[in-house]
Symmetry: none
Subunit: 205 residues, 4 copies
DNA sequence: TATGAATGAGCCTTCATTCAT
DNA sequence: CATGAATGAAGGCTCATTCAT
């Protein structure tokens, strides 16, 4: 278990800052070397702390992975829910959703890589249950939006299910080739993806 | 190194058959539990051999992963090259390519899952060089076909690069949700993916 | 690689002390059972550490053998070089050299036994290169002194080369029979050996 | 246990010839790589037999080492005993003994290297008891001759014990530097060694 | 005789984690 | 808070040996 965080606000803030730094560093190392291939000693070296010191900020290696996934999913899910709750049109919501999503790919590339690469690890085991639930929520939200897109304008996707899976595949694969200063911005990529999904319908329009 | 295979044809054939069975079983276990999370003992239990006995058929755990990837990529690449060398039109080639690819997803789902999930593992290290090269070849071949699709009919993709990455993302993600007896056949999925890529162009047709 | 030694002087000193104890214990066990026949578990039992704990002090079993050889050869070589650089007569240097050498046999008998018994092990492999070089240096130094002995007084050895090999054989074999409280002291043995080498010449004197 | 050798004389002879070849090859490999570092598979490769086939000729790896030592010690001891039983003068016996000994170094260099290098291995364990006894006998015989050398001519060795150990050290070390076509023949070396031992006395003669 | 498959114990080493300081 | 020492349970792999064929 992580050492109980301090109660005094000043100390608490310092604790949080350092913990945050540890998690970010860990995300970088996990993204580069993989979760299993990274030892606590590796993390110690990367953070500048000794092995024992790490355990003040993380409860365990597993919880560290949870923290990385949470840092990614919590704000993403929050924004996604806000968008889904807005009164924009369904296809506008879809565009915004993918933009926000790609924005996370851009700004939390390491987190995203870890979340994606360690998918198998997260698949079973109680310690990841929370993370799995969040992912499920996000995918469900996505599915709902796609459904509403179709509901608002009939016959939109050749196959809605396939479109959903395709979208998940495309976006989740992005961090593996995306270059921050590349030819395409995250936004352009987001719009490009949506275009692919929506286009088949449009041709008949 | 794997134990030198026997010289007599009969024994050789039995050796090959068993080795093949070991690789297939390993693919199943790796797909389910992940490469790192699977121990040699796990494989021993799954194959019915003792730990040491496995090493008659595999040279090492690493080489076993190579074997799995090779079993997947060699025939896939061979078929892909045949298609690319055919005199079918570029977009017909593309369709065939994705169908063949999806056929591998269907028939070698475990291999595909492993190849995809352990992407990070394969990324560095001399022992995987061969595998990386095969993947690169396949992706290059795909890129070439996409290029020819555009060459034959101007303005085909909103962004050809993006289309390539999208396709890779979609197909590679497929084994994670595809169900053999599901609503969509592998072929339908393949065609669906190609449709997504080609449609934007077509709408202007 | 051995765990990075601590930086604080106090800890560093404790680390060094314990490491030294581990090496000495290992020398004793290796001398008694042989390098290959001694398992890390054996060493753990002998040192009172758990198997894993040993690795704080040694980088590997191989490096432990290097450490033992170094502890023996570094001071021996240093003293030998000092003697060779002195302005004593060549045959005085020879006597001193063999005395110093035998002194090492006496005070580091275990190290000497290991160094001698594992000669074959040390013969090839990059990890022992350093040790081989030290041994070579020592033997060369010995050869040089023998040469100067002859240069100062013509016709000293029936065959200088043979004398060198004989000396190496005699001294290196000593730890296998030498008893600390035996009839002959290390010094007497040293002088006895030199006497054997020099006598043939002397008889003609 | 080695498979029972065949009873028919013809088969028996073939068996013996092959067994002899296996032992000789094993001696070569053990000399080069060391007993512990040589696996049965290595021996299989070196002999051209399969692992299982080896066990028709050797009972176990340990017994193979015994065989090598026996092939060396039996004839050496036999010859040594013949010499010791002859009515030659003691110092003539000594010379002959060392010549015979060096002859074995020359003609069975691999056996000698193994016998010497694996000294530690042979030191304990019932399976080597026989070998240890043979070595002991040889050394005792040597000691006896040295004693008689002194008995026949007073004051021969500065220290008889030391002379014995020195002789053992010198000769046993020889296979590690001796070159068959080198400047010195085995005989010259033998005589050189004896000269070293006898000379101190002789100078007073 | 000879083979190669198979065993299972044991090897060296790594690693997440704990704890006295 | 932080350290580095220490643990002990795996981990991947090798190896002498056996045995059905």
């Amino acid at each position: 278990m992580a050492a109980a965080p301090p109660t005094s606000p000043a100390l608490r803030s310092r604790f949080d800052r350092r913990r945050e730094a540890v998690v970010t560093t860990a995300a970088r190392v996990f993204a580069a070397r993989g979760f299993h291939a990274t030892s606590i000693q590796d993390l110690a070296a990367a953070t500048g702390l000794a092995a024992g010191g790490l355990y003040h900020y993380i409860g365990s290696k597993d919880q560290l992975l949870v923290a990385i996934c949470d840092e990614l999913m919590e704000p993403l899910l929050a924004q996604a829910q806000a968008i889904a709750a807005s009164d924009a049109s369904a296809d506008r919501q879809l565009r915004q959703l993918v933009r926000v999503w790609m924005d996370h790919v851009e700004r939390h590339r390491d987190h995203m890589l870890v979340f994606q690469q360690e998918r198998r690890v997260l698949e079973s085991g109680r310690q990841w249950q929370h993370v799995r639930r969040r992912r499920k929520q996000f995918e469900q939200l996505l599915a709902d939006v796609l459904e509403r897109v179709e509901a608002e304008r009939l016959g939109r996707f050749a196959d809605r299910d396939l479109a959903l899976h395709a979208l998940l595949g495309m976006v989740n694969h992005t961090p593996q080739w995306y270059q921050p200063r590349g030819r395409l911005s995250a936004e352009q990529i987001a719009d490009g993806y949506v275009e692919l999904l929506l286009a088949p319908e449009r041709r008949d329009a």
